[in-house]
């Protein structure tokens, strides 16, 4: 397990080189797994009963928990964007759990966290203008127009802080685990790493997923409600 994000292919699109990195390929793998799981659940949904049991319980609990959490944070007015954050939640959590298998988490690449943070930023601006119209723009000049640069920086800092927080946390786990595998003799690389993976990938991964999603939801809510 190395620190570098490998490049697998290079595409030339209109004379511009695009690297197909390990992150992108791992993202496709995660997407494929999540979509297959979703299709399995969709097929199973036909045989779902009124009194849930087994897998149905887990699916219902997961969807209901997330929906209550997202709707509770966003409010009923913005509840129609919860599916996007369900994807963000599922993707970041799956990425963290992906590391358990010794594969590099897509979230340990700044490009991924930047993409997710930019999406939240765009959503935040869109919701701000959609629900507040001109008042949202006015908030950039409050309490006095002289504060406009500060307010603008404050807004632009949101996607930067979101992306770097997740990236830094995920990368730190990757670095620690890489160092452990590189610096320790082979006999301590059996058993003990599972504990480190449990902490850095599962616990920190779940925690960072929750933090990223709730902060994004609050940014959007604040923009729409300000």
């Amino acid at each position: 397990m190395g620190l570098d994000i490998k490049n697998y292919w290079v595409l030339n699109i209109f004379g511009f080189e695009v690297w197909i990195t390990e992150t992108i390929v791992n993202t496709w793998i995660i997407m494929l797994i999540l979509i297959i799981l979703a299709i399995i659940v969709r097929v199973k949904l036909r045989s779902f009963k009124d009194i849930p049991a087994g897998l149905q319980n887990i699916i219902e609990a997961a969807i209901e928990f997330f929906d209550n959490f997202a709707t509770g944070t966003l409010g009923e007015k913005l509840s129609y964007i919860t599916p996007w954050y369900f994807m963000v939640f599922a993707f970041i959590l799956s990425s963290s759990l992906f590391s358990v298998f010794g594969l590099r988490a897509p979230t340990a690449d700044f490009a991924t966290t930047l993409a997710l943070a930019l999406a939240s930023f765009v959503l935040m601006l869109f919701m701000g203008f959609k629900h507040q119209k001109g008042r949202y723009l006015k908030t950039f000049f409050e309490p006095h127009p002289i504060f406009f640069p500060l307010n603008l920086i404050g807004e632009l800092a949101k996607p930067v802080s979101l992306s770097f927080r997740l990236f830094g946390n995920m990368l730190s786990g990757t670095i620690i685990l890489t160092l452990y595998y590189s610096l320790t003799p082979i006999f301590v690389q059996i058993g003990i790493p599972s504990l480190l993976h449990a902490v850095f990938d599962v616990v920190f991964g779940a925690l960072q997923t929750y933090i990223f999603v709730i902060i994004s939801l609050m940014y959007v809510r604040n923009a729409a409600d300000q």
Binding site: V18, I24, M31, D50, I59, E60, P83, W84, M87
Partner: protein
């Protein structure tokens, strides 16, 4: 589109972090991936499961409403039947009271009829007795008269003349008419 995959040896070395156009390009691809994943998860998983949960909640609510409505109907029926039972009780009591009153009237009429009949029978019997008595009295008087006449005839034939005989006969007849009859 002019898309060309370059050979593996032309692929640049990996890196941990960079702030350049490649990061932006990767971010763009990741954003596209995220959108595709969001669409897929939303339409394959999130919305159908939410719809299922909503349908079930509606179904449960419908059943609860149905139960409430059935309970309300049942309560109404109970109240209705209780009222009917009360009415039936009242009507029953009325019928019993009427029957009792009619029975009392009828019994009174029967007793009255019987009394009248008894009186009639008594009256008729009395009349019959009186008739019988009168008839007997008449027959007895005629018989006695006859006997007395015979006796007197015999006595008188021996002792008195015709004039005395007629006088005595008249006196005897007058006495017989005023004498009380026994039996």
């Amino acid at each position: 589109m002019n898309i060309t995959a370059l050979l593996a040896q032309a692929v640049p070395e990996g890196r941990v972090f960079g702030l350049d156009s490649q990061t932006l390009a990767s971010a763009g691809i990741q954003l596209l991936n995220a959108i595709i994943l969001a669409v897929a998860l939303t339409f394959i998983l999130y919305k159908p499961v939410k719809q299922f949960l909503q349908n079930r909640a509606d179904k449960i609510k419908g059943k609860m409403d149905e139960t409430d409505s059935a309970m309300e109907k049942a309560n109404q029926l109970i109240a209705e039947y209780e009222n009917k039972l009360k009415e039936i009780d009242i009507e029953g009591n009325k019928i019993i009271e009427d029957a009792r009153r009619k029975a009392a009237e009828e019994s009174k009429a029967i007793v009255e009829g019987a009394r009248m009949e008894a009186q009639e029978i008594k009256r008729r019997t009395q009349e019959s007795i009186n008739e019988e008595r009168r008839r007997f009295k008449e027959e007895s008087r005629l018989y006695i008269i006859e006997v007395a006449s015979l006796m007197a005839e015999k006595i008188i034939a021996k002792t008195i003349d015709d004039e005395t005989q007629d006088k005595l006969f008249e006196e005897a007849l007058a006495q017989l008419e005023h004498a009380p009859w026994q039996g």
